[in-house]
């Protein structure tokens, strides 16, 4: 009795202290967010960017925060950073149509148009766009739920000794198993995209795409802010990247912002 009387208050104190600290951070984050909104309304976009960045540093990335920050960058004329944060907002919330619309507007004013050998505009492969547009969190939650239900029913059936109940459980579970497989495929694709299809946006106004990871390497071409590239491999201060038309080269890491 005496032992628990000492431990329990200590646990409560520790939990309360941690919770209060978290609340304080959340409150400060919210204040920066609102201050950024007010600065945006006042037309002070530089201050809005500063406030949003501080809010971003106080917690995990949030689609609304990324979207507002992108808008502020857009108003400041920093199209590369605007594209980067619109992409981040869409990565966090693929159903964000406002971010998609503003991203389309921002892309209209970009310098680079990626074309193929015939001079036709090239965008990323459709399958890549598709799997990147899959909502990873939604699919994760759906897959977890289905996983729990399907294996729960299977376990219940295994433990049941009544043949009628076992039969009913089997036929109930059969379509759910099919659904689990389908959701599992999409979930795997979305997970693969999140883990392996790493992309970045050129945030420097102009960046030199070189043939090698060296400042002395020949410059293949100049790329401009807002261009989206696939990250392949980091090499020192450079990253090997691939453009949508398949061209590869090396860009300085500090000229890129990973989505």
């Amino acid at each position: 009795m005496s032992k628990w009387c000492k431990i329990l208050p200590l646990c409560w104190l520790l939990w309360h202290t941690g919770s209060a600290g978290a609340d304080d951070v959340a409150e400060r984050r919210g204040r920066h967010f609102q201050a950024g909104n007010q600065a945006y309304l006042d037309g002070d976009y530089a201050r809005a960017v500063s406030e949003y960045q501080q809010a971003l540093e106080l917690g995990p990335p949030h689609p609304d925060l990324a979207y507002n920050l992108a808008n502020a960058y857009y108003k400041l004329g920093k199209k590369g950073l605007a594209v980067l944060f619109y992409e981040k907002a869409l990565r966090l919330r693929p159903s964000d149509e406002a971010a998609r619309a503003n991203l389309a507007l921002a892309r209209k004013s970009l310098v680079d148009r990626v074309v193929n050998a015939a001079g036709q505009p090239v965008s990323e492969p459709p399958w890549e766009s598709f799997i990147k547009s899959l909502p990873l969190d939604g699919l994760s939650a759906a897959f977890l739920t289905l996983n729990l239900v399907v294996f729960g029913l299977a376990t219940a059936r295994r433990l049941s000794r009544r043949p009628a109940l076992r039969r009913r459980l089997f036929w109930t579970n059969l379509p759910l198993i099919f659904l689990l497989v389908v959701v599992g495929l999409f979930f795997s694709a979305a997970w693969y995209a999140a883990e392996h299809l790493r992309q970045a946006v050129v945030i420097a106004p102009v960046a030199e795409l070189r043939e090698g990871p060296d400042n002395a390497a020949r410059v293949q071409m100049e790329v401009h802010e807002g261009l989206k590239v696939r990250l392949l491999q980091p090499v020192g201060d450079f990253v090997r990247v691939r453009l949508a038309n398949g061209l590869e080269g090396y860009l300085r890491s500090d000229s890129l912002g990973e989505i």
Partner: protein, 617 residues
């Protein structure tokens, strides 16, 4: 009447006709009876005769205060068949160009002609000289016949000119008889202010204009003017009569401040329009002209001022309807009218149209080329599609310009336009369900920031959170465990002997443990009962069958036949007998005996347990 009378009548008629043909007709006429000061009139003396007359036979009349400024003679011949005989008639016209020198009535006296020993005179003519010009202005839309030629225009004004009395022979043409001049409306203007450059030709000879070449006007924005309706006029300069005509005109707007030069304009003319003779070409040039373009004043210059906006303008903005529905396009017309370089005017656009989808506008300039001043209207039409319902406002437009006549900047402003936008354009028919209108509220418009967000959620994706993998693997893991257990159970149930042995061994161990408890409490009877049960359970575990109720001798004989070790069997039998003895006669077997019996039984249990797998195999 008899036949002889008819013949005499015919002869009399022929004789009269022949006498008439031999006569001369002499007359005087003027092209107008009223003339203004500075204007000219033409007096024509016409002689119609058979042989023709010399100029010396004609004595010009006394023209009083009308000064003779030119003269010429034209002549034509005609063939006359009259009364069965043929004759030639010559029609000679003596033209005198007269110019009044004072107001009032002037009398042109009779002219005289000596012909065939006779003197003929004309009637005197009275001319009214007035102050105002009497020549009516050229009609504005008068269509004059024109004939296209490779080199330029044939203008019938010059055909009239050939008939003028002051035409000169080609070999006598001096530079002052034929020249072109560039006349400017002003030589000192503001940057962007219009200058009208008129190219005029002055000639005392008949000609045709082949081509006009303007110099490069890089410092000017140039607008051609249409002067095709301009007529040739007769003017007297320094006592000489010229025919002058406005050949071309341009409106020039200086593009920069400073001293600007308009180079020579070249005009190529042909001096002979007779198609049967080669034409003589002459190239006429104007002198280069310099003008001064002043810089627009910095003082009072509005922020929205565009240097192209110099002139005098008005601004208007309107929409085609003040009511609309979502997705229904409306047209916003923006119009700037006035005088100035309208082609260069940048029409104002509404500043903030966030609640509209804005389509590219169409712009047109309506500026007639007639007239020397550039004036007209520049209009832009913008298609707006409302993206929100309610009262929407199109903000006021502002347009600044510099008025060179006032020397000041002016700023025009329209009123804001309010537009009432309904929620939907779908008007359901009676009894029909309303179909929602398809409204693309996102395309083409910049979406605002989000104000209401608690910044919750977010964070790394579910798959990167620590609980994800346990949650993912838990259900299948649990299922796997259950599956294995149930499979194992099923497998066990299929082998009853193994189950029985396992249960027997479990029971043996349990009862040995129970016997140990009785040993601790020194309960001899219970101890030996449990120990006996342990020995039988162990034998069942070792052999796979129950031996309860069998006599010990039968058990031993049967088990000997199965190959069980006789020594072990003997030990088991001795221990059972010891237990039974202790159970039913406990007094002699307590304490140390009980403990040794427990240990022996435990040892025996282990030996039987070790033997059991070998037997089962």
């Amino acid at each position: 009447m008899n036949r002889r009378a008819h013949i005499w009548l015919l002869l009399l008629t022929l004789a009269t006709a022949g006498q008439a043909a031999a006569e001369v007709r002499f007359s005087a006429s003027v092209d107008r009876e009223q003339v203004g000061l500075g204007e000219t009139l033409v007096l024509t003396l016409t002689v119609d005769s058979e042989r023709g007359v010399n100029s010396s036979d004609v004595t010009p009349p006394d023209t009083g205060s009308l000064q003779v400024v030119g003269n010429s003679v034209t002549e034509s011949t005609s063939f006359v068949f009259s009364g069965g005989s043929q004759s030639f008639r010559r029609l000679q016209s003596f033209h005198y160009v007269l110019q009044p020198t004072r107001l009032g009535t002037v009398r042109i006296g009779p002219a005289q002609l000596r012909y065939g020993g006779k003197t003929y005179t004309t009637e005197p003519i009275e001319i009214q000289v007035v102050r105002q010009p009497t020549r009516p202005p050229a009609p504005a839309q008068k269509q004059r016949p024109r004939f296209r030629s490779p080199g330029g225009w044939f203008d019938d004004d010059w055909e009239d000119f050939f008939r003028r009395p002051d035409i000169l022979p080609r070999e006598e043409i001096r530079p002052e008889d034929l020249y072109v001049r560039l006349q400017l409306s002003s030589r000192n203007v503001y940057e962007g202010q219009q200058i009208t450059a008129q190219l005029k030709i002055f000639s005392r000879v008949g000609l045709r204009v082949s081509s006009i070449r303007w110099p490069a006007l890089n410092d000017f924005f140039s607008v051609d003017r249409d002067v095709s309706d301009e007529e040739a006029q007769q003017v007297v300069l320094e006592g000489r009569s010229y025919l002058t005509k406005l050949l071309d005109a341009r409106a020039l707007f200086p593009l920069r401040a400073g001293e600007l030069e308009i180079g020579p304009v070249e005009v190529e003319v042909e001096l002979n329009t007779n198609p049967f003779y080669p034409a003589e070409k002459r190239l006429l040039r104007t002198r280069a002209v310099k003008i001064t373009a002043q810089q627009l004043p910095a003082e009072g210059r509005p922020a929205s001022f565009d240097p192209a906006h110099v002139g005098r303008f008005s601004l208007a903005a309107e929409i085609d309807s003040n009511e609309a529905t979502l997705n229904q396009p409306i047209t916003l017309s923006i119009k700037v009218s006035g005088k100035g370089a309208l082609q260069r005017v940048n029409l104002p656009r509404p500043a903030a149209l966030d609640k509209f989808r804005v389509f590219d506008s169409t712009t047109e300039v309506q500026a007639p080329k007639k007239g020397l001043e550039v004036r007209g209207t520049k209009r832009s039409e913008i298609i707006l599609v409302p993206l929100a319902s309610g009262q929407l406002e199109i903000p006021a437009l502002e347009f600044s310009y510099f008025d060179p006549e006032l020397g000041a900047y002016r700023t025009l402003q329209t009123e804001p336009i309010t537009l009432k936008v309904g929620a939907s354009s779908a008007q359901p028919a009676a009894g029909a369900e309303a179909q929602p209108a398809e409204v693309n509220l996102l395309a083409g418009s910049f979406q605002p920031i989000r104000f209401e967000s608690r910044l919750e959620g977010g964070g790394p994706p579910l798959v990167r959170r620590p609980f994800f993998l346990p949650l993912l693997m838990g259900p299948p893991g649990l299922y796997l465990v259950v599956l294995l257990v149930t499979l194992f159970r099923a497998w066990e149930q299929q082998d009853s002997e193994r189950l029985r042995r396992r249960q027997a061994w479990s029971q043996a161990r349990r009862q040995l443990k129970q016997a140990g408890r009785h040993l601790g409490r020194d309960q001899a009877a219970d101890f030996y009962r449990e120990l006996t049960a342990t020995l039988f359970a162990a034998l069942e575990g070792a052999t796979g069958r129950s031996w309860h109720g069998y006599p010990l001798e039968q058990i031993c004989s049967q088990l000997s036949a199965t190959g069980l070790e006789p020594a072990l069997l003997e030990k088991w039998k001795a221990e059972v007998e010891n237990c039974q003895s202790g159970r039913f006669a406990p007094l002699g077997k307590r304490g140390q005996d009980m403990e040794e019996a427990w240990k022996r039984t435990r040892r025996l249990l282990r030996q039987l347990e070790r033997m059991a797998p070998r037997r089962s195999n």
